[in-house]
Amino acid sequence: MKNKYTILAILMFSSVMLTAGENKPAINLSAIKYRLVYETFDNGSFDICIINADGTGKKKLTNTKNVHEMHPKVSPDGKLISYLQDTGEGRDRKRDLYVMNIDGSGKKLISKDSREQCWSPDGKFIAFVKSESTRRFSLESWSTKGLFFYNMETGQVREHANKTLEHLYSLGWSPDGKYVTATVLGGMGLKHTNIGIEVNGSRYFKLNVTGCRPEFSPDGSRIGWGRTDFEFNIAKINMNRSVPVLDKDKINFLHVTKGYEVYHLDWSPDGKYIAFSFGPDGEQHVGGTAKGWNICIAEIATGKSAYVTTDGNQNKEPDWIPAGE
């Protein structure tokens, strides 16, 4: 029965995962030695799971009925996971930033009313933004203010020098440590775009990328992002150039048919694959309802792709665990 379900799932996947108009066969996931963490909805709340790339060895790292644990991000040494924890419901919901060990033990509060975090490449800092309104909770990714850095060694929080930063989401830290990238919506006079922000300066600049959620490849030479709800682009990037991403370098890497969405692209530690969330029209933001969504992997060189999970339990926000773990 399990085999039948897997085959059915792959067939469905092949029919909707279209690259340049042609179907791609599934890839051999068992050849990928890395593991992933992701969020899944089970027993009435979101929890964080760990899983092998081929879909075996799934294990829940959190298991709390009335508390949502989401948006896991693994530290560069693979030993820690930063994540968001939501308590309460509706307008009184609260979202806080936590860290735990890779086995789910040792949960520790980092910052209250915080979200959209990412690690510095040396693992010494976590960048995050604060929730914008204290009057009522918002699920909107862009409903944020400021940019902050938590020092893992001292526990001190430093606000970025540019105090005008607002409405940032989907933070990423460049592998050279110099920039944080983010999507911004309706902040700093910008409509909806992607920017690079100097970590130790106050300047920010556009990446020349339309869409959302840019993610650096591990060597920092490329980024991938969601150009729309239903497609990923990949391009070379040079943060020292006035236009970091050139139009001529943009490649439509993957797109899905109408009625389905792809989000939360994350590069594998060796840069050969991306993991992502895929499913029928749903809510991609942290805590959003995304019934039928699964974690998938695509091979950069071939565009071939396959399911990692098949249960459709609102599986989102995959993050690779580096080999060091």
Partner: protein, 269 residues
């Protein structure tokens, strides 16, 4: 004789009641809400909705409607995040998803001690609640027409548009402070232009064929919501009291537009 006097008296009373009713029904009044927001109280009435083959009679109950499009200052008052591209306290809120317009209505209701209309899990609107909500498509058109039967609330001459509308020819590529042009006959500003306005209704091109004649509230199912009024980015041809539009940016931050805002309504009683 006594019988005749009685009949005459009853007739006089009925006529007086009808007369009084008619008088209050046709009164358009400006009011200020508990939180200081200016609204216009509109009488119930019957009007021709749509034009050409779509024209049909609709009867509406009385309601209150915002005099201006919801501004960024109004958003700040209740501490909601302001997603607008063109910042300015007096400018209308834009880049607003339909669900966040509904959230604003609920928060404004709570601020004034009213019962919120929207269920924030299903986004169903409780029309019996006394709080704020988005106008139905019929309410929007009734308010925009302000009793007019022509293409525009200011007549049929497109040359007058510049006096009443912030649109592509005079917008300088952005929104303007709310109320920068002349209002319609009922004192409502920016019913055309500045930002297109979300309505409560789900959009269906065929809805008029099956819609009820009294207080129509839109189809039960669909993915897009009705937009009315056109925006700063639209050309002359896009405007008119009967012009319908729709958009799918109901809850998706990736496709929000700086041409879309809204105004709120609530029950008259």
């Amino acid at each position: 004789m006594k019988k005749i006097i009685t009949i005459l008296s009853i007739t006089a009373v009925i006529l007086a009641v009808l007369s009084c009713g008619k008088k209050s029904d046709t009164t358009v009044k400006e009011i200020k809400t508990g939180s200081g927001i200016e609204m216009v109280s509109l009488p119930g009435g019957e009007f021709t909705m749509g034009e050409g083959a779509d024209a049909h009679q609709v009867k509406l109950s009385p309601f209150l409607i915002d005099k201006y499009e919801v501004t960024q200052e109004m958003f700040k008052q209740i501490e909601l995040p302001n997603p607008s591209h063109f910042k300015g306290d007096k400018n209308p809120v834009e880049m607003i998803a339909w669900v966040n317009a509904a959230v604003y209505c609920n928060e404004r209701s709570l601020e004034e001690g009213l019962v919120p209309c929207y269920n924030e899990d299903t986004w169903e609107c409780n029309f019996d609640a006394n709080g704020y909500r988005l106008p139905t498509e019929a309410e929007w058109e009734y308010a925009a027409r302000a009793g007019s039967k022509e293409k525009y609330f200011f007549g049929n001459d497109q040359k007058n548009m510049k006096n009443y509308v912030i649109y592509s020819r005079n917008s300088s590529g952005k929104t303007a402070p709310a109320g920068s042009r002349k209002p319609n006959a009922w004192g409502l500003y920016d019913m055309y232009g500045n930002v297109a306005e979300w309505c409560n209704d789900i959009y269906s091109a065929d809805y008029y064929k099956s819609s009820p004649s009294t207080d129509p509230r839109g189809p039960k199912e669909g993915k897009e919501r009705v937009l009315r009024g056109g925006s700063w980015n639209d050309s002359e041809e896009s405007f008119g009291s009967a012009v319908r539009a729709m958009d799918g940016s109901i809850n998706d931050a990736c496709i929000l537009r700086d041409t879309i805002g809204f105004r709120a309504v609530r029950r008259a009683d």
